[in-house]
């Protein structure tokens, strides 16, 4: 069966520090991968999606970037965090069947 992992589960970072969040998927090949951000009590904002290694599409211009160095690995990064980057970051995967499966999320607090 397929599983999706995200780490860390929680993170507290100072403003201006770098960020690296990792997502890995097991049990499937060549998935579409997605990064979402969810502000407190708000909806899901699609940040990036990837249909293959090295193929990244950005939905919202910001100081975040994404990379897909391996088929089932998706990384969200920032060189300098802003207060507004705080939120709940969710990784998701899908394989051509419309349904997206979400990971457990990373709670990021920028102070």
């Amino acid at each position: 069966s397929q599983t999706i992992h995200q780490w860390p589960a929680t993170l507290v970072q100072p403003v201006g520090s770098p960020l690296s969040l990792e997502c890995t998927v097991e049990g499937t090949s060549n998935p579409n991968l997605y990064w979402y951000r969810q502000a407190a009590g708000r909806g899901l904002q699609l940040l990036f999606y990837s249909v293959g290694i090295g193929q990244i599409s950005s939905e919202v211009p910001q100081n975040l970037s994404a990379s897909r160095p391996q088929d089932r690995q998706f990384i969200l990064s920032s060189k300098k965090l802003l207060l507004s980057d705080s939120g709940f970051y969710l990784c998701a995967w899908s394989v051509s069947a419309d349904t997206q499966y979400f990971g457990p999320g990373t709670r990021l607090t920028v102070l």
Binding site: G43, S57, T99
Partner: protein
């Protein structure tokens, strides 16, 4: 045209009652309409989904009603239970979009079911 409008923003229902959440869309190319359930601190999980070739789909206490001509779909939770208290998101996608399965999400409905 890519938006999915969801209402209400929050909903309070007594145990045993019916919870109804509505969504509307504009893009007639949408052909897949899932509902996700999210508990606090967790990722959303697929609850139930429908395609426009049927007007209703039922799974246990959860039913999706779909009105293609009105471009609306709704989630009905029968015999609502306190364990149903969560945030619900509707979504839609155009399966013909090249090489991706982008879902357009509604803004979410926070459901609270009181005993």
């Amino acid at each position: 045209q890519q938006q999915v409008k969801q209402s209400p923003q929050s909903l309070i229902v007594q145990k045993g009652g019916i919870s109804i959440i509505n969504c509307a869309y504009e893009n007639t190319a949408f052909d897949y309409f899932p509902w996700y359930q999210q508990f606090p601190g967790k990722g959303p999980a697929l609850l139930i989904a429908i395609r426009p070739d049927v007007s209703e789909k039922k799974e246990g206490r959860f039913t999706i009603s779909f009105n293609k001509s009105a471009k609306q779909f709704s989630l009905h939770i029968m015999d609502s239970q306190p364990g149903d208290s969560a945030t619900y998101f509707c979504a839609a996608s155009d399966g013909r979009s090249y090489n991706t399965d982008k879902l357009i999400f509604g803004t979410g409905t926070r459901l609270q079911v009181f005993p």
